[in-house]
């Protein structure tokens, strides 16, 4: 048995015997096969092989179907909603922080300096730029007010002292100050 030299048509013969060719392609292939003895032989062989291959066992449909569970629609997943809500919350929170930081920056550049003169204080609290931690903006006065629950218990004199001390504090570090040098990066043990 010899092969037809038209490889493109020969490649379509399995689909021809399985009746899977588009009508226009089928007409073209049929026309070729009518005039090609090699392809006729191959089609004959393919039909015989197909019949032989398809004669394998017949499955028991009833047994298979009985093992198939009834359809259950996929459960509505609330996990996705939770994730979306969490993302939204983070986005809103992040935006709020950004807005607050912008406002703080604007305040530093403008009116706040008039309220809080930039004189260097003597209190350790007034040395934020020397802190061996991350150079986050510090707000010592609000922390004092809000973070100390006993502040209401101070008498007038103590409050006056506290206010006087606050007057000496630098309200905010200078925005132009390069503070990257303030970062203290711990050296790995044994390298110093």
């Amino acid at each position: 048995m010899t092969d037809c030299p038209d490889g493109a048509v020969r490649d379509l013969l399995p689909e021809l015997v399985n009746d899977r060719l588009a009508p226009d392609v089928r007409r073209r292939v049929d026309a070729h096969v009518r005039d090609c003895a090699d392809c006729q032989q191959e089609v004959e062989l393919l039909r015989a092989l197909r019949a032989s291959l398809r004669r394998v066992s017949v499955m028991d449909v009833g047994t298979i179907v009985s093992a198939i569970p009834a359809y259950r629609a996929p459960r509505r997943s609330w996990g996705g909603w939770r994730a979306a809500a969490a993302i939204m919350l983070l986005a809103v929170g992040g935006t709020s922080v950004a807005v607050l930081q912008r406002e703080n920056t604007a305040a530093r550049d403008g009116g706040v300096s008039a309220v809080a003169p930039s004189g260097r204080g003597t209190s350790p609290i007034a040395q934020p730029s020397r802190a061996p931690t991350l150079p986050a903006i510090q707000h010592p006065a609000p922390e004092l007010a809000l973070g100390n629950p006993a502040i209401d218990e101070l008498n007038d004199r103590e409050l006056a002292t506290l206010l006087a001390e606050l007057e000496t504090l630098e309200a905010f570090p200078s925005p132009d100050e390069d503070r990257s040098a303030d970062l203290v990066v711990p050296s790995p043990a044994g390298t110093d």
Partner: protein, 188 residues
């Protein structure tokens, strides 16, 4: 086993695979019967071509159970039959990997020149057909899978590549090598 004649329903009357899936999801159990009847034998032939001997029916049943259980995962990007073949192949490979079937199944590799699998020998009376079965059985496992899908099912190379886990080009080469080998064996 049932008789082929039991499934003489006209395919046109049954509806497309997608329609049957929709009907089954809406509670029509008969739609599942029609789908299984339409594809079970093809899946069985494919499983057989993978070298499974004694557990073909179990694998086919597992394939359908798995497919129907995850039917929402079928996006219709391929034919349902191709998707079923993919599931069946995965089941067979998983079973072999888990060694559950070790000793019962023959681990077939492409390097094997032939397999001793031919369940129809006893049933095939015709000498010419027996020779054809012998020729197909002598193909390498991958050639036999590709050849079975191409000639037995009429699948495109793209569909074969998806089902067998290879490339379109490789499927084409396997088919033509298989065809050449069969012709040589039959010409001897």
């Amino acid at each position: 086993m049932t008789d082929v004649a039991d499934r003489a329903d006209s395919r046109a009357d049954q509806g497309t695979d997608d329609e049957l899936i929709r009907r089954w999801k809406s509670g029509e159990q008969r739609a599942a019967t029609l789908l299984v009847g339409r594809h079970a034998d093809s899946v069985a032939r494919f499983v057989t071509s993978l070298g499974v001997r004694d557990d073909v029916e179990d694998v086919v049943q597992d394939t359908f159970v798995r497919a129907f259980a995850s039917i929402d995962g079928f996006r219709g990007e391929s034919r349902l039959r191709t998707w079923l073949f993919t599931i069946a192949r995965r089941l067979v490979l998983d079973a072999r990997r888990s060694e559950r079937w070790r000793g019962e199944q023959v681990e077939v590799q492409d390097g094997d020149a032939r397999t001793d699998f031919d369940p129809l020998d006893a049933m095939v009376a015709d000498e010419a057909e027996r020779r054809m079965h012998g020729a197909v059985a002598r193909l390498t496992p991958t050639q036999r899978q590709v050849f079975g899908l191409r000639v037995g099912e009429g699948m495109s190379y793209r569909e074969i590549a998806d089902a067998v886990g290879t490339t379109e080009g490789a499927a084409r080469v396997h088919y033509h090598n298989a065809m050449r080998a069969i012709k040589e064996l039959l010409d001897d």
